[in-house]
């Protein structure tokens, strides 16, 4: 059976690419510290020696639209083109091409349906910065095949937070039962408190540092019970109007497992958001060797 060698959760800041590649007067003062943190985070994936990456993200109204919006969608394609004109325009992100792992996509779809998730699928999915940002930060050579999984975190009605956790728990079961000798890492990105298109955006810190502090504690300690007790679809509006992306962190907590402390926890307080980085080794670094 396949081995789940790393579970990685992070924010996906689209300005990292531009900040980390900027030079001279264009380089922001926080860039060097940001790069150091990202390189330490990247090493946590490199050490796990994955063969394939399951990537959890959310389409930002690039390909998926309100005429036919899936709640959970699995990409099943041999190749994924990536990034869009308006991401190039706004964030300076490069166009990318990533290989797919269709066998694992097919397995997740078949077994996921049978496990009770009515998963949508796409044979032609152009992915966006929710997945390319962690490729840029964690695997910049972009050499590993991926299985993209999109969740709906911003086009109401949304699934309940518990459903994200359940999907994470199911994904772990599916990966660990995949009849393959491959080493699988799961990388998912979401948000802590975040406001976009509202009065609290781009402040000195994220819109709700207290929420961020509690959220980092829940994720880092695997405290699913407290996270589920304190978070609802309604309450997630309070820390910022884009904070529903936190449910992708909850999905990753479902994969990492109740009560499991992250092996790597780091944060970076940027001027308008708290960046956060978590890695778990489900079988330990040595236990995952093949």
């Amino acid at each position: 059976m396949a081995q789940l060698v790393a579970v990685i959760a992070s924010t996906h800041h689209p300005f990292y690419y531009r900040a980390s590649t900027a030079t001279g007067q264009d380089r922001p003062p926080f860039a060097d510290e940001w790069v150091r943190k990202i390189e330490a985070f990247r090493a946590t994936l490199t050490r796990a020696r994955p063969d394939v990456l399951v990537m959890v993200g959310s389409d930002h109204f690039h390909q998926l639209w309100l005429d036919n919006m899936p709640q959970f969608l699995v990409g099943k394609a041999p190749t994924y083109d990536a990034n869009w004109y308006n991401e190039e325009r706004e964030f300076g992100l490069p166009r990318m091409v990533l290989p797919g792992q269709e066998d694992l996509s097919a397995y997740v779809l078949r077994e996921g349906l049978d496990a009770g998730f009515d998963l949508a699928f796409s044979n032609e999915l152009r992915i966006d910065h929710s997945i390319t940002c962690p490729i840029i930060t964690l695997r910049p050579q972009a050499d590993l095949p991926i299985v993209p999984i999109y969740t709906n975190i911003f086009a109401p009605p949304l699934p309940q937070p518990r459903r994200f956790v359940q999907l994470g728990q199911t994904l772990r079961q599916l990966i660990e039962s995949w009849p393959s000798q491959q080493r699988v890492a799961v990388i998912g990105t979401g948000h802590l408190s975040l406001e976009l298109g509202g009065p609290r955006q781009f402040g000195a810190h994220g819109p709700d540092p207290e929420f961020d502090r509690r959220a980092v504690e829940w994720i880092g300690t695997g405290d699913l019970e407290k996270a589920l007790a304190e978070v609802t679809l309604e309450s997630l509006h309070l820390p910022g109007n884009a904070t529903h992306g936190f449910m992708d962190f909850m999905l990753m907590m479902g994969i990492a497992g109740e009560g499991n402390r992250a092996d790597h926890v780091d944060t970076l307080d940027l001027f308008h958001t708290m960046e956060a980085y978590f890695t778990w080794y489900p079988n330990g670094l040595d236990g995952g060797s093949s």
Binding site: W65, E90, A155, P156, G198, P199, F202, L238, N241
Partner: protein, 120 residues
């Protein structure tokens, strides 16, 4: 209200560089053209199979025609779509990094929770 159609306008303009420029320079004319020609186009379908019933109300049409993004916020347009498109329209007019985003926040500063419902 037709929040879906507001979002469809923002979505389709934001992904097309020529339309972004056209909407920046001639907002009212672009909204008039778009409503007549594009509002009922099914995005994943041949043009012959268009819808027949989608239209803005007067308030929505005026908000789009005047680039009034605080009004779009109040009408329940999706804030991510509004922000992204209006950055494309107006960020270039600011010297300071993120200047438009800060102006956007400032113009909405008197809005308080709960925000308008963005469900479509």
């Amino acid at each position: 209200m037709s929040k879906y159609l507001l979002n469809k306008f923002l979505f389709t303009v934001d992904r097309d560089p020529e339309l972004v420029e056209r909407y920046r320079e001639q907002p009212r004319e672009t909204v008039t053209w778009w409503e007549a020609q594009e509002a009922n186009r099914l995005l994943n379908c041949v043009t012959a199979e268009a819808s027949t019933w989608l239209a803005f109300d007067d308030t929505e049409r005026e908000a789009l025609a005047t680039h009034d993004y605080p009004a779009l916020f109040d009408l329940g347009a999706h804030p991510f779509l509004t922000l992204t498109l209006f950055i494309a329209l107006f960020e270039r007019d600011h010297d300071m990094p993120l200047g438009f985003q800060l102006e956007y926040a400032s113009r909405l500063a008197d809005r308080t929770l709960p925000y308008p419902d963005i469900s479509t």
